[in-house]
Symmetry: C4
Subunit: 365 residues, 4 copies
């Protein structure tokens, strides 16, 4: 049984993989579906879905829904990966928060979990989400998708489809958690339909979106999200850099290491602002909690904190990726260009045209 | 030394493995035992036991007990795997619950474990149980066995033997825990032979079966077990889908990832209803605790809650498997059929006949 | 660089490995040292030390100390592996117990660890100990060594050297912990040189050896150690059984899985008697604590409990190994013999002679 | 895509790797840059940077900054690896300490983490730091670098560049943590700009450097750091010794095992002195906290404790490495020399000359 070995962040390897797919597909089933290639291209996706040869040859791929599934493969993957991530992440906060202080019927006599459980919940949510999504290079986080476009030759036109899938997925994930814990939220808040936002004493909005600690200044809020995102991106690029440590950082270990990376983020930089590090993780559940009746305070709480986890992760990921590429990465990157890549700003059109041409040569468009 | 590489959920690979076995066996020892093939077939098992060639050739396989062991290989595996799973799982609850609040002689001054220990206990119990059971595709859980029959071509006639072994194993496992902690239960309940069921203040029945939190409505009870089972099945199918992420999800990682999946279930969806997610895990110990003197309240507690962990996991696993196959899976599955597999309901007999014929061709019957 | 792949529990593979070594050695350096083979044989060890070819050829292997190191390779490995295991295990209890309730200067405000830290300490102590000892099949535990002799063809004459090394190692390991925490023990006990044994309120003897909970009956004490040892042995045999699940249980995963197995033992069966499961782990530190001034109560405490962790693990491991071989194992084992191996008792001399002859044929003597 | 497999601690393998690199490079890009080789040699580094062939051939390696990056590859790697290690390590202490006792808005009702979170923080900081740094053999710790020079043929002239990078990295890492938690430190200490050192009741200096428990004697302080460093070095050498257990200790597992080793250090030997085990980890943040206004008490606290984590780790690592080489290691090591390597002291010049010549033969200079 042939096994596809995805080679991320190495455009030529990726291209060769797709050429192989191309070959396999054109000789078999996809031939008959020029429309699928067209649909995928118009969505900004690679003309060919990343499917295993065996499965691609399957006789039933002609069915209508199979074609939909293949056409929307990456968006579906990102969507469900984010659903899983948010289900575990928001679910862990819900369980720990709502059971705080419960003594009767609680093994150990003090609730059902502690803050560390929340860290494990997010860590393994990300890991299992990546297993579900496949290793798409998108990592369930628009800021990381963005950095991969910027530094690792992921085509920009992929971005909108990934972004949409991630945001929808996080909304659905937080919905599942809300539906699961609705009677417990009523019980904890102290009445049917009561919904409050921090710093209210029995607030449950923190299950869904992040809210900062009250004593943290606006600058510290921003810096905390910024620096944590930068470390996140820096380490992810290190984990994906095959030139750095050879086979020790194979794809087999990558999702597992993200478990510890995210767990560590929560253990070391998670207190002040709740380590959103991710627009989709924060905005999706925030929208959902607004729609479900938590009121406009989900936006105004913490001095209109909501925009910080929307903005800081992008800048942080860009900065972290820049540091890695400037000091360690030796592969193809805009930073490995004259004037550390700043020339791109002087001749943007020329750059864009050259890149598009290169992608066409590699049949990535 | 030849090493068998099990290829799960891919029927043709599995078949080729069995053909190889067939060849190896027919030329050596099994030839003389048509009765073993007959016995195994009548139990619904594959005619040939999944044994390594080396061992199959062993000279002493003709002994009476060796033939029993080979004939009942999968049921024995499932039985002992479930025993191990329940021993660790129920054992962790027993230790944490019964030592709650103990200060003298307890390192750290507060009992011997906390709620997180229970999550680790179930997680590693499942992992070590799978190592013991071999990766049979059954996962010590009848609802998952059922979903594998429904979506992954595990023949239906395997189901009764697996189910029986799982249920008996969970009863024996909870028996071991009871025997181990009998004096501690007496001490905790406050008298020799006292046995109470939640919500009694010193109830110990929660060591064995699951009981819901008092404030959770019947609908929330059902939904909690349903959605957690759906996530469980969805992620297991993702972890087993070789087309999704290639070698990164090899069999080597699978049992280890189940540790985190089950740990996460307990950390994120374990409070309201105790995350049974498994008829065998709940019904077996419940029967045992009834037999051991906890009284009829094991059935009536929580508003006759007992039927929910018997029913919800099946529906949840079926739903989770359906979602995975509908949106991500591209291999052979009834969902990858016209009308999302609903045609099976229109022509059930034709389908059954075709499937049986295919299995016969692959020598799986 | 050639890499030695140890094939445990498969006598013929092990023999072929040693034959290879034989060949490599006889043509190079060992030739000149018939005395080393003699010394090793007289210690009950394999005539040839399990060394990598490259290293064996090293020019400086003729030095006196190098020959000592090679001659005593397995005892040295077991010794240091046990030292590491006990250092971490006893060290974790010391740190958690002695810092119980400390609030000032403690991050989190409640001591330096909790009961779970003790479980992690023993789990990773065993794992790192196995890495240090190499995977000798002895597992730093005389009862497991014994079971490997009984069921897995480890020659009996190996036993005394392994046993001695394990016992000495555990004494040295507990000595290191005592030396490290001596001023903290003085502080905790409330005076210089004060040393008390449970159930004294400030007892510290529990750092070294195990003492049962006061309410546990003698029968429960015995059963707890017995059943936990049986589960330990059962799962270890499953993890080592290559016919059970193929490559998924390779040697690469084995030490890591022992981390979780031992962690689980502590989380699920560790409260009542302290999960010694190992004569060396308990007797060595107990002797050491007796010698260091804890008084004769180390023997009399818990109703002369000390003999239970000396006896129960042997019987438990024998029982657990028997269950695995009777119900699952299909390789060579005395249980896979007529009358489940009971014939050995009828013709012991004939059996012993045949086994010795077989070992001689394989050059294992 | 060729994959570089680093072969650590085996000088001949390392040499052959570099020869391969040499070949690859001399035929392609590096030819034109004799100055880079010169610069690297004058820094004590190997003349050729350890780069993957593919990347080395990259067209843009001629740019000024690319050449700087290649010239300073190992120092940059060590620098950023230490930054990551200290960010997570110091960050975890900061979060747990500063949130101690917080009840409102804390899931679980008691702060954001406990002492175990600190152990995880340091463990995963080391692991991720090694992933970032590549497996340079330096391990972000000058004492370990030193031991590798002493026992594993890492040339001494590499030491200054590694040491400088490690110290600078730890200063920058602690700076990041300080900047991130500055408003929380103000809040915890009770006033803007208040900075106190243990044993002050609200001291926060312990976030950065280590301070001993008050009751620990000077001798116990020293012994605690000494013995923990010895165990650290002993286990690392075991994990790196390919002759000990074959492939089970491949490079793939090494960084992950360091997670548990460091976690275990903190769980078992972390209370009395804070397990610095590393001059860079302790001195860098101490210098930084001195510069940032914690006053001269960072030096005088604990009876001028500061010199112990500067001295004890060196002696401990030397002792631990000696034990491993004397009792277990069979490869090339000064301990495997006449009189256990003491002859080096009698003829130092001859030894040095011979070693330099050998290195030149291997093109390591």
């Amino acid at each position: 049984m042939p096994c596809i070995h995805y080679c991320h962040s190495l455009p030529h390897a990726s291209a060769s993989f797709h050429r192989r797919l191309e070959h396999a597909s054109s000789s078999t089933s996809t031939k008959g579906f020029p429309s699928m290639r067209h649909h995928r291209t118009s969505l900004g996706l690679h003309p060919l879905a990343p499917l295993q040869d065996d499965h691609a040859k399957h006789e039933r791929q002609d069915l209508f829904w199979s074609r939909v599934r293949t056409t929307l493969r990456e968006p579906f993957s990102e969507f469900w990966g984010t659903v899983i991530m948010i289900s575990f992440g928001n679910g862990s906060i819900a369980q720990v928060l709502l059971s705080t202080g419960q003594t009767s019927g609680a093994p150990g006599g003090s609730g059902f979990g502690n803050y560390q459980s929340v860290n494990w919940g997010w860590g393994l949510g990300v890991m299992l989400g990546i297993y579900v999504a496949g290793d798409s290079g998108a990592y369930l986080n628009p800021a990381i998708t963005f950095s991969n476009c910027l530094y690792r030759q992921l085509p920009w036109r992929r971005f909108p489809a990934y972004f949409t899938a991630q945001l929808l997925g996080s909304m659905v994930g937080s919905c599942i958690v809300y539906a699961n814990y609705i009677s417990a939220i009523d019980y904890y808040e102290g009445g049917h339909g009561m919904r409050t936002v921090p710093p209210a004493p029995k607030a449950t909005a923190g299950i869904f979106a992040t809210y900062p600690q009250p004593f943290v200044t606006k600058a510290s809020q921003f810096f905390s999200e910024f620096i944590a995102s930068a470390i996140l991106m820096f380490v992810i690029f290190a984990l994906k850099d095959r030139a750095n440590m050879g086979m020790a950082k194979s794809d087999q270990w990558f999702p597992f290491m993200l478990l510890f990376l995210v767990f560590g983020m929560g253990s070391c930089f998670g207190w002040e602002t709740g380590y959103a590090l991710n627009l989709a993780r924060d905005l999706g559940p925030r929208l959902m909690s607004y729609a479900l009746g938590y009121g406009s305070e989900v936006w105004s709480a913490g001095g209109y904190y909501f925009w910080i986890p929307m903005v800081a992760p992008w800048l942080g990921c860009i900065f972290g990726g820049f540091l890695y590429d400037a000091f360690i990465y030796t592969g193809q990157s805009p930073v490995n260009a004259p004037f550390l890549g700043l020339s791109h700003f002087f001749h943007p059109r020329r750059e864009v045209r050259a890149k598009l041409q290169a992608e066409k040569d590699l049949q990535m468009v």
